[in-house]
């Protein structure tokens, strides 16, 4: 394959990873109406879980990935129960600050446990130095998961309940939907996707540090906002856009150090043209 197509494939794969993370942000926002700033750190915890099980305990890779996913899912549910549920119904800013606190807490606990030195985690040695294969696998799995998620949201009972809660929480409650359960499921799915994203992130850059979650987190958050936060197809489109911008900016020598600025500038421009993202719904406000 020519350089351009390798690059394009890598961009799509990175976009897929961002989309997986962005889905967590966007679903939580759509259903619980909160910005979950701790979502990026779930990725970090997932990566550290893979580090512990794979590098320290020497378990097989498939088991490590399953353990990471289960651990992150439980962690997501636990965080929701302990930190966000008591604040249901209070101001969004209070919940945002709690999320920041949770993110800080996770980072510092991991720092305390593993120190700040970056550690190497090579999950798939055979894929090392083979970007095309990595990209293809990433893209394939990401697409599969997204299709599965869309089917889940559209055709299962819980999915229906999730859509109902995101539409109007009060009315959903009146119809007998257990809102707390729906929000818990949302957090579980978002965290599981973040764990998968962590595995892909490790395939791309096989290093774990306690701050590794913040950068993909913030970029995926931007991706969710570009697509229109709360919209699931929007998160996927936003993720792909972020992946394309990042990969192509990184490949042009002069632009490398400005990648982040360019990404955010495009985010601002998109928001100025469409104030609620590409696929976001505009709400009419009433007094």
């Amino acid at each position: 394959m020519s350089d351009f197509w390798t690059l394009a494939l890598g961009a799509l794969a990175l976009g897929g990873v961002y989309a997986l993370i962005a889905l967590g942000y966007t679903m939580v926002y759509g259903i619980a109406k909160m910005l979950n700033f701790a979502h990026g750190d779930i990725i970090m915890v997932g990566a550290y879980s893979a580090f512990v099980t794979f590098m320290m305990l020497g378990m097989p890779v498939w088991l490590c990935i399953i353990i990471a996913i289960i651990f992150c899912t439980l962690l997501g549910i636990g965080i929701e129960k302990a930190a966000y549920r008591p604040l249901r119904g209070s101001s969004p800013l209070a919940i945002l600050i709690t999320a920041i606190g949770v993110s800080y807490l996770m980072e510092s606990i991991v720092y305390l446990a593993f120190s700040s030195a970056p550690k190497n985690v090579v999950l798939f040695p055979s894929l090392q130095g083979n970007p095309t294969a990595t990209a293809l696998i990433t893209l394939g799995v990401a697409t599969l998961l997204m299709v599965a998620l869309v089917l889940f949201i559209n055709y299962t009972k819980i999915g229906k309940a999730m859509r109902a809660v995101s539409e109007d929480r009060g009315a959903a409650q009146l119809m007998g939907i257990n809102v707390n359960f729906v929000i818990m499921v949302t957090f579980a799915i978002g965290s599981a996707l973040a764990a998968v994203a962590a595995v892909f992130w490790l395939m791309k850059t096989p290093l774990v540090t306690y701050t590794m979650g913040s950068l993909p987190g913030i970029k995926a958050f931007s991706a969710a906002v570009i697509g229109g936060i709360g919209s699931i197809p929007g998160a996927m489109i936003g993720g792909i856009i972020m992946g394309l911008i990042e990969t192509f900016c990184d490949s042009i020598p002069g632009l490398q150090s400005y990648t982040m600025a360019i990404e955010f500038a495009i985010l601002v421009i998109i928001l100025l043209i469409r104030p609620s993202g590409l696929l976001g719904k505009t709400k009419r406000e009433k007094v």
């Binding site: 008591p86 119904g89 009146l174 928001l271």
Partner: protein
């Protein structure tokens, strides 16, 4: 009101001073500081702590204006601070240094000029940021401000103007940051910082009590209703963002002056959130004094924990900090803790203490008993919004255990 008001008419009436205790605290602090500085007792690290508290108070006031009083969330205030720090210090270094070398330019005046320069440049960017603020709402605006802060960071990280400054022989700016040799004498700097902070507090207090301040808070409480009542929403949003950016820029210059060297990477979104927004929220939104106390407490807590926990336990500081943050926010906001909160809070404590020390009011003497009419109503006690969610959820909330909706078919 028949009197025609212009936007700055309240300045004509002169500044009034209320909330004496905050000012008293500041005055006492500055007085003690002067004594300490003259006697040269404290260590350099103590001065650094004071400087840190000082510029944190200034930046927190700045964000409090936007978040607490205008009601818009900003996650990029470190960006304004960064702009202020870099332009102010650069100006000081390049323009004033040449003057200073000729005729012993006083450092205090140099700092003052660079504060105005840094603040003004930041204010220009505040104006630019206020334009999307007119179009975007809530979380979308928050992400734009976050993006702004990151763009500023990347810009300052990459710009390299050594070639300009090399003429003077000393590099003042490298890709990693700025190094300035105009370092203010640390014994006096923090007193200047506190004086500036005090100035801003008096200014903003007066602004908030003026009709303009009322308009700003009306926008926070309900933008559409405010617009319907004739409040010029566009003007006030721009005004608050520009003012806030100016103060943040000044805070940046003060920060720059207190450091021997600083790097652009410091001012990322983590700084905006962890070191600025968190303090504003901990202090209580829309409560200037609370923010100041929170800035003081957080800085002291950080400093104490840092010196107590050393080595491997240093990370424990962050764990404690995060736990305190979560617990405080949940205690202050959780709906189910409301009755508890109303019984045990600082206001109740303060009032009990006050009641013990003050004489009972004479009901026959109206001069003593009535509150100052110019102060207006107690805003915290007037319900401006009725949260529909709260009404609905308390009545028909299904219990957690039953999954009623599952058993439909």
């Amino acid at each position: 009101m028949s009197e025609k008001r212009t936007y700055f008419s309240y300045f004509k009436k002169g500044l009034t001073i209320r909330n004496y205790w905050v000012y008293t605290l500041f005055a006492v602090f500055i007085a003690i500081g002067l004594v300490l500085s003259i006697t040269n007792l404290p260590k350099a690290s103590t001065y650094q702590l004071f400087e840190q508290i000082g510029y944190t108070i200034v930046i927190v006031i700045s964000l409090s204006l936007v978040v607490g009083f205008l009601g818009e969330l900003s996650l990029g205030h470190a960006g304004f601070m960064s702009i202020g720090a870099f332009t102010g210090m650069f100006f000081q270094q390049v323009v004033l240094n040449s003057l200073a070398s000729q005729k012993g330019f006083p450092a205090a005046i140099a700092l003052f000029i660079s504060m105005i320069v840094g603040g003004t440049v930041a204010a220009i960017f505040g104006f630019i940021i206020s334009l999307p603020a007119l179009r975007l709402k809530g979380d979308y605006l928050a992400i734009v401000t976050l993006a702004f802060g990151e763009i500023v960071k990347v810009f300052f990280q990459n710009i390299d103007i050594q070639s300009i400054t090399n003429k003077k022989g000393s590099p003042v700016w490298s890709t990693t940051g700025i190094i300035h040799d105009f370092r203010f004498d640390y014994k006096w700097l923090y007193i200047i910082i506190f004086a500036i902070a005090l100035l801003f507090i008096v200014m903003i207090r007066n602004l908030l009590r003026s009709p303009h301040g009322r308009n700003i808070m009306a926008i926070r409480d309900n933008e559409i209703a405010a617009k319907a009542m004739g409040v010029n929403v566009t003007f006030y949003k721009i005004f608050v963002f520009v003012l806030s950016a100016f103060i943040a820029g000044v805070a940046g210059v003060l920060f720059g002056a207190s450091q021997a060297t600083f790097a652009a990477a410091k001012f990322d979104y983590n700084y905006s959130i962890n070191n600025i927004l968190v303090i504003v929220v901990l202090g209580g939104m829309g409560n200037l004094e609370g923010s100041i106390i929170a800035a003081l407490v957080v800085a002291l807590l950080n400093n104490r924990l840092q010196s107590v926990l050393s080595g491997d336990l240093a990370a424990l500081k962050n764990v404690i900090y995060a736990m305190v943050l979560i617990v405080v926010v949940i205690y202050n906001n959780a709906p189910f803790l409301k009755p508890f909160r109303e019984k045990y809070n600082f206001r109740v404590l303060f009032n009990t203490i006050k009641a013990k020390f003050s004489k009972p009011k004479d009901p026959d003497d109206p001069e003593k008993g009535l509150p100052d009419p110019s102060y207006g109503a107690d805003w915290s006690k007037i319900p401006t919004k009725i949260p529909m969610d709260a009404i609905v959820t308390t009545d028909v909330l299904p219990s957690n255990e039953t999954d009623d909706w599952k058993g439909e078919n």
